[in-house]
């Protein structure tokens, strides 16, 4: 039950993009078309789930027992950078067409605040192993949800008459604001 709460919370109530403001760069950059948004979202979810596992292991098997808490930031970001490299090589081997499709998005995942944010927040909340994995998976899906919704809206926006200065990032942010308001409605859902 607690796990379900963590999952729904990460997906909707405390959505990584619309509540925690994580993953904004890809959110604005990759959300122009629904299929690329979906691919990016799923790739991020995949990396986030693995990151959840590895960051929990590092934090609880090495950093905490040996009082190395101050190395948390350095170790987490190095893990994430390496994981993204590995995922990139893995996808290249397993499915070259997929690799082609994702193109430069993959290395960009490293600086995606969402992944680092996931590792940090899970550690901050002192989640157990299972809770961390569910949290990672849920927040990845939350990110995917936000980015796909945004892509859907933007595909429509491209066809309409947006004032020149607001084209691109400006209108995207305003739309994000409206989406955030909508998602606000999910608060209290878990009470």
């Amino acid at each position: 039950m607690e796990l379900l709460i963590i999952f729904i919370s990460a997906l909707l109530v405390q959505n990584f993009v619309l509540y925690y403001f994580l993953g904004i760069c890809p959110f604005l950059g990759v959300s122009k078309k629904i299929d690329s948004a979906l691919s990016m979202g799923l790739a991020v979810t995949f990396v986030m789930s693995i990151t959840a596992v590895v960051s929990w292991l590092i934090n609880n098997l090495i950093l905490i027992p040996y009082d190395l808490g101050y190395l948390q930031i350095v170790s987490f970001i190095l893990v994430i950078a390496s994981l993204v490299q590995l995922v990139e090589m893995f996808i290249r081997k397993i499915s070259p067409p997929l690799y082609q499709a994702l193109g430069i998005y993959l290395p960009l995942i490293t600086t995606n605040c969402a992944i680092m944010g996931l590792a940090l927040i899970a550690a901050l909340n002192e989640y157990s192993f299972v809770e961390t994995v569910i949290f990672g998976f849920g927040s990845g899906l939350g990110f995917t949800l936000a980015i796909v919704l945004m892509a859907g809206i933007r595909e429509q926006l491209d066809l309409s008459d947006v004032p020149e200065p607001l084209k691109g990032a400006g209108i995207a942010l305003i739309v994000a604001g409206i989406m955030a308001m909508a998602f606000n409605g999910f608060i209290g859902m878990l009470t």
Partner: protein, 201 residues
């Protein structure tokens, strides 16, 4: 020197230098940080228990800690309970005080919350909510009073003022306190805490 060797040496050196540097910084700041966290707890205890001078932990578990507070002359000043529970937006951590007989609440303060800014977040500093936590009856269930009473003597001893436009967060605080009181009463029954303190003092 081959490229691979150079790569490995550079990375290792950079890693070692950073690691060493960070270890040094950590050492310098460790005490101060621990002090800050300690001060936060002690500050909260001082706010909710009258005349307390020193405090010690009586019982500790996840999300619930019971402190014993001693006055300047060493006499029992009261108890403080720190509890974490589910709020409206996220978890709320609070501290409330109990008198020496464990039957009256002597005050409440919020330590950590992430409620809606400007609305639910009022639980941190809304006087009509916080001040009216004094002298509450701790032997039974506390209930919410809304609309809120204007003067403390209008409230029944088991009533707490709700904050207008922040009713849900107020209710969440109330629920956490009620739950903690239940737990504390159970702990007393099991003998884990006694009115005299765990060390029979």
């Amino acid at each position: 020197m081959s490229l691979s060797a150079r790569m490995i040496i550079v990375l290792t050196t950079v890693g070692l230098i950073s690691g060493g540097f960070l270890a040094g910084v950590a050492k310098l700041t460790k005490e101060r940080i621990a002090m800050n966290m300690q001060a936060e707890i002690e500050g909260a205890i001082e706010e909710v228990v009258d005349d307390v001078e020193t405090s010690s932990v009586l019982y500790e578990e996840d999300d619930l800690t019971v402190f014993k507070g001693l006055a300047k002359d060493g006499d029992l000043a009261g108890f403080a309970v720190q509890a974490t529970g589910v709020g409206f937006q996220d978890k709320i951590t609070l501290m409330f005080g109990l008198d020496e007989t464990l039957s009256k609440i002597t005050g409440l303060t919020i330590i950590d919350q992430k409620e809606t800014p400007g609305l639910g977040a009022k639980i941190t500093n809304w006087d009509a909510f916080l001040q009216f936590w004094e002298d509450r009856d701790a032997t039974g269930l506390l209930i919410l009073r809304k609309p809120p009473a204007r003067r403390r003597d209008e409230l029944l001893e088991k009533e707490i003022n709700a904050i207008t436009a922040a009713t849900i967060s107020s209710r969440k605080v109330l629920e956490i306190v009620n739950l903690s009181l239940d737990n504390v009463r159970a702990l007393i029954k099991e003998g884990k805490i006694t009115k005299e303190g765990a060390d029979g003092n």
